[in-house]
């Protein structure tokens, strides 16, 4: 009688370890390739100099700067908008209400919109209709539309995890909703918000198709947000697909991108842990 469950246990263990090992192996191969080829020959000068000879030689300083600007715009627009929508969806509307349902479903669709469609839309709407042209602003706004669903989903989860006693006690104390939000709900929802932030930044940094049509191809230092600026992922694409002899710098840029992502991930999880600690100490 004991035999059968044991066999099943073994089988499941085998499956779990099998998939973990195969996943790690493949992912390790990809990362290893980038780190060895790209990281091995990286030096500081690459980060601080301008690309020359179409990017074959020289560095990526202006591209890094454009990338960060695009990311900044994306976050400046999507964070408040996403936070507001998440509060609305989780605290001010319910599944039964038509408005909430409608917003939620349209966000579900938005989450599945192919990035190339975002590119087409961004080009038609921001670049042409609003007259922003190929610019960092157009690129950032397009990406903001793109990361909103991820951001809202995770933030909503954060609000859901706040125990309902908090809200009841706040209401009993006659607190205004703004203070309830500010002092009780927001701090508790921060970790979920940060997860959304990290995933959103990851998605934005990795995006190529949507940016080609919006932020453009210019690989110089942008003077303003209205200037076109090339993002890191587009630089990688151009170097590996359009420039002969660009592979080496493509690998280096990919490595820089991975490191950038790591730094953002680490700092976000550091911030969220600190926040949690402070909250626990205070309460």
């Amino acid at each position: 009688m004991n035999k059968k469950p044991q066999l099943q246990d073994r089988f499941l263990t085998l499956l779990v370890y099998g998939s973990v090992i195969s996943v790690s192996w493949v992912l390790f191969l990809v990362l290893f390739d980038i780190c060895v080829t790209g990281g091995g020959s990286l030096n500081l000068e690459f980060l601080f100099s301008e690309p020359t000879s179409a990017g074959r030689t020289g560095g990526i300083a202006p591209i890094l700067m454009s990338t960060l600007f695009i990311l900044l715009i994306t976050m400046m627009v999507s964070l408040p908008l996403g936070l507001g929508s998440a509060i609305l969806l989780s605290e001010f509307s319910s599944e039964e209400k038509l408005f909430g349902r409608l917003v939620r479903r349209s966000l579900d669709v938005l989450a599945g919109v192919p990035s190339i469609c975002f590119g087409l839309f961004g080009n038609a709407f921001f670049c042409k209709r609003l007259g922003l042209g190929f610019s960092i602003l157009s690129g950032g706004l397009t990406l903001a539309c793109m990361v909103l669903p991820i951001l809202i989903r995770s933030t909503e989860e954060g609000f859901r995890s706040v125990p309902k006693e908090y809200r009841l006690s706040a209401a009993a104390l006659g607190l205004s909703r703004i203070s309830t939000l500010w002092h009780l709900l927001l701090p508790a929802a921060i970790p979920g918000f940060l997860v959304g932030f990290v995933l959103g930044v990851g998605r934005a940094l990795a995006e190529t198709a949507a940016l080609i049509f919006t932020s453009g191809y210019v690989d110089r230092f942008p003077r303003s947000l209205m200037d076109s600026g090339r993002a890191l992922s587009i630089h990688i694409y151009d170097l590996s697909m359009n420039i002969s002899g660009g592979d080496e710098n493509a690998y280096r840029s990919a490595f820089v991108l991975v490191v950038l992502l790591l730094v953002i991930n680490f700092s976000a999880s550091w911030v969220s842990e600190r926040w949690l600690k402070r909250k626990i100490v205070l309460s």
Partner: protein, 292 residues
């Protein structure tokens, strides 16, 4: 459980302002999708007017410069790549999440999770590049030309794995601890607990994960363009090249004018219809699950 309903009375004037601000946030985010679909349709209309919808499914092939606009092979291409990669990535992702929760020591689980998070942020170009240089030549040794549906499925599976793994991971951590203690008290084996207790409890979260990864699988562009061969023909085996709707847009948009350009927007609209029906199906299934 939303307790801060707008219609319940509040003593504070400032709350009205808050409600209005939040409402406008909601309206703005909700409108984006309609804006996108509106623009795609507006750009697609010229060709639909002159050729009609049916030609996109009945023309002999996709040669836009000679006015032939058959999208069906690419529709099948997108569908095959999506189904294949989801079938491959879903078990791998879910088992990885199970590993993080019930097998690995906390530190290993944390590192593994970080590792997967990192991979979700690597540009598709990098995966595509790797696929083109490493994977495609390997497949070519088995069955030429190497650029194939199989290569697309494998690369896509790697790319969507983080999505399913991370959402499955989150939904597993939402399984109440009492359930697990109850299972342990009953003397259930680990496999029985996972199969009989954890999976049913986390079902809706796992389901969300599958929907999300399916969306990403359909929408992926650059990597698929680099490894699939881009031949406009419905693939009849795993080793045949094919083209997806997204690759079609990315390959030709920059070079397209007039009706050709408009026809590419039609592929965009078709893709959107795909996504919308996916969301509707998900809605139906999940509402059924609620009432079961």
């Amino acid at each position: 459980m939303p307790l801060l309903k707008t219609n319940s009375s509040s003593l504070w004037q400032s709350d009205k302002l808050l409600a209005v601000t939040l409402k406008s946030c909601g309206v703005a985010t909700g409108l984006i999708v309609f804006l996108i679909i509106g623009f795609l349709i507006a750009e697609a209309i010229p060709v639909l007017k002159t050729t009609g919808i049916s030609r996109f499914f009945t023309d002999p092939g996709w040669y836009p410069s000679s006015n032939q606009f058959n999208l069906t092979p690419m529709l099948w291409g997108s569908l095959y790549a999506m189904v294949g990669s989801v079938l491959l990535a879903t078990p791998l992702g879910i088992f990885s999440a199970v590993f993080c929760h019930y097998y690995a020591p906390p530190l290993v689980a944390k590192i593994y999770r970080m590792f997967i998070q990192l991979l979700s942020g690597i540009p598709s170009v990098v995966y595509g590049f790797w696929g083109l240089v490493v994977l495609v030549p390997k497949i070519n040794e088995i069955a030429p030309p190497g650029t194939s549906l199989l290569a697309g499925i494998l690369i896509l599976a790697i790319m969507i794995l983080p999505t399913i793994m991370l959402t499955a991971d989150a939904s597993l951590s939402n399984v109440p601890a009492q359930y697990l203690r109850g299972a342990a008290a009953l003397g259930l084996s680990r496999s029985a607990t996972i199969r009989g207790v954890v999976f049913p409890a986390a079902r809706s979260g796992l389901f969300t994960g599958v929907i999300l990864e399916t969306g990403r699988a359909i929408g992926e562009t650059m990597a698929i363009l680099m490894v699939c061969g881009n031949i406009v023909k419905t693939p009849t085996s795993l080793f045949e090249p094919m083209r997806t709707l997204t690759a079609n847009i990315a390959l030709e948009m920059a070079y397209a004018m007039g009706n050709h350009r408009s026809a590419l927007f039609v592929s965009g609209v078709v893709l959107m219809l795909f996504i919308i029906s996916l969301v509707v199906i998900a809605e139906i299934i999940s509402s059924k699950a609620v009432y079961e």
